[in-house]
């Protein structure tokens, strides 16, 4: 059945939108990742204009973030203070991201920028995951539950405006969490991804937060950053298609449930190899689109 998307102003098969939402939800249920990095490229492959894919994705991120954070919140594993400081950075990052987005839209290169950002990001994450899970299978070792924290580099230690974060037992310059939030905000507005894959390591290794608090806090920050990004996209670009978002979320609800059920039966490292291959596959497809001579070397852009 075809459904007409009022903002994208095009008809798409509703089954494939729901299936896409369900698939991404399934992946995020199995692996505990956000999955935004899959939704945006898959929407683009389906022919949804890149700006609308990214803009709409910010709604989806806020929804997924909310349901994800609730579990951590119940268990008290969210540091709201440090999350709020990150959020402040995230809002500034979103504003910078929107200007960046607008700029490249104006000069007609936004699709290229989104592609390049995704190829870089998916390529590096996919390879890292592949190596990590490959070695952990080889050595038959479980992933270390304790992380060796990097000693805070002297530069970070010397930054001004230090603040005490009691919940995380940290005394650190506000610029560190705000900077991490800034990157997240930038990623949300330009790529439609929450950036958990960057945020979580950064919060553990650079900020030195207790790992227990990291997931919930990063989700807390992503909810409000992506909510802000959605408002920016909707008011500046008119690229938030709520009908598209609704069907994606509906598919996602089912997918996540299935994913969580399946996740009890799959072993970590082997499953992560699959995820890594999936990520690399999407990356490869984007690279092919960019580097292989297209059949039509002209592109039409309606102002």
């Amino acid at each position: 059945m075809q459904i007409y998307l009022p903002i994208a102003e095009m008809s798409v098969p509703i089954e494939s939108i729901v299936a896409l939402g369900a698939f991404v939800g399934f992946v995020s249920g199995v692996f505990g990742v956000g999955g935004g990095f899959l939704t945006t490229p898959l929407l683009i492959f389906m022919g949804i204009p890149a700006p609308i894919a990214v803009g709409t994705q910010s709604c989806q991120l806020a929804a997924a973030g909310t349901s994800g954070m609730m579990g951590y919140w119940r268990r008290g594993n969210v540091d709201f203070l440090i999350g709020s400081v990150m959020l402040a950075g995230g809002i500034i990052g979103s504003i910078v991201g929107i200007f960046f987005f607008r700029l490249f839209q104006y000069i007609g290169q936004i699709d290229l920028v989104i592609s390049l950002l995704y190829i870089t990001l998916l390529g590096s994450i996919g390879l890292m995951m592949l190596f990590e899970s490959f070695f952990s299978i080889m050595k038959k070792k479980t992933v270390k539950s304790e992380f060796n924290r990097l000693k805070s580099p002297s530069l970070i230690a010397r930054l001004p405006y230090k603040m005490r974060f009691a919940r995380s037992k940290l005394y650190v310059s506000v610029f560190v969490p705000a900077g991490i939030g800034f990157i997240s905000g930038f990623l949300v507005t330009t790529m439609g991804v929450g950036g958990g894959f960057l945020l979580v390591p950064a919060m553990i290794y650079i900020l030195g937060m207790p790992t227990l608090l990291v997931a919930g806090t990063s989700l807390f920050q992503i909810i409000f950053t992506s909510a802000f990004a959605a408002v920016m996209h909707a008011s500046v670009n008119q690229t938030v298609d709520i009908i598209l978002a609704a069907w994606l979320i509906a598919g996602g609800v089912v997918g996540v449930q299935l994913g969580i059920l399946v996740s009890r039966r799959v072993t970590g490292a082997r499953a992560r190899v699959l995820l890594a291959l999936l990520v690399l596959g999407v990356c490869l497809q984007l690279a092919v689109q960019l580097f292989v001579q297209p059949s039509n070397i002209f592109e039409i852009v309606v102002k």
Partner: protein, 256 residues
């Protein structure tokens, strides 16, 4: 005194007289030879929209004339980018802007003398190439816009937005005719202009324009209008809905 007054009257009358006479001369009898009528002057784009037809009915009083009908969708500026390799990647390198390109274009005519005289298609914009005349905004370093224009037409054809034409008008008898234009699913919304032309002795003797509105209705229209006219409120509601649905999912979620 009376002389002066009557003189003024005389002046006034003499000043008005020729104007009135000319006005009478100029107004032709309001009996037009060609009249067309749209079956629907409104096409609704619902959430199940899967294309539509623009039906045009017409009548000509003189059977020794020819008829042409053009449908033009809303006009927008369009940039055609040509990709070229930069560090191995195919990116948009050279662009040419075309001003006010109709995002839908189709035409039909009764054959006959329409194309005997090359001036008529040019004058009426009958035919895709004729319609595109003068739309390219040349930049100093571009020598040739024709390949860009060809690419634009090819892309629009592929999307069924510039349907291959012309189709012949179907005459029911010597005077009555009907014709229809297929609007694809991806047809842009907005005001469509239906231009009709009456051709006699190698000249366009009558022309008329009817308007057709293609717009989203129901929930779609509501979403589209609120997104464009009250963007901040739309954004706020969208995000509230997203947060609420996330919350709902969080409550019903199966916990491992």
């Amino acid at each position: 005194m009376r002389v002066i007054v009557s003189l003024i009257y005389l002046l006034l009358i003499s000043a008005l007289w020729p104007v009135k006479a000319r006005a009478q001369e100029e107004t032709p009898p309001p009996r037009k030879v060609l009249s067309i009528e749209l079956a629907f002057d409104h096409i609704d784009v619902t959430s199940g929209f899967s294309g539509a037809h623009i039906e045009v009915f017409g009548h000509r009083r003189d059977k020794f004339t020819d008829v042409a009908v053009i449908v033009k969708g809303p006009e927008e500026d369009v940039i055609v980018w040509k990709k070229a390799q930069l560090f191995g990647a195919w990116i948009n390198r050279y662009g040419i802007k075309f001003r006010k390109v109709p995002l839908y274009y189709a035409y039909t005519h009764s054959d006959g003398e329409v194309f005997e005289n090359r001036d008529i298609p040019q004058e009426a914009g009958l035919g895709v190439d004729e319609m595109m005349l003068g739309k390219a905004v040349m930049k100093s370093d571009d020598t040739n816009a024709s390949s860009y224009q060809a690419a634009l037409i090819k892309t629009m054809r592929a999307k069924d937005l510039f349907p291959e034409g012309p189709e012949k008008i179907r005459f029911i008898n010597d005077y009555f005719f009907r014709t229809r234009f297929a609007l694809p699913t991806n047809a842009p919304t907005g005001i469509y202009k239906i231009h009709s032309f009456l051709i006699k002795d190698g000249k366009i003797v009558e022309r008329d324009t009817d308007l057709l509105k293609v717009e989203q209705v129901g929930l779609n229209a509501f979403v589209y209008n609120s997104a464009h006219n009250s963007a901040p409120l739309y954004a706020f509601v969208s995000i509230l809905l997203s947060l609420a649905s996330g919350w709902f999912v969080g409550i019903i979620r199966v916990r491992p």
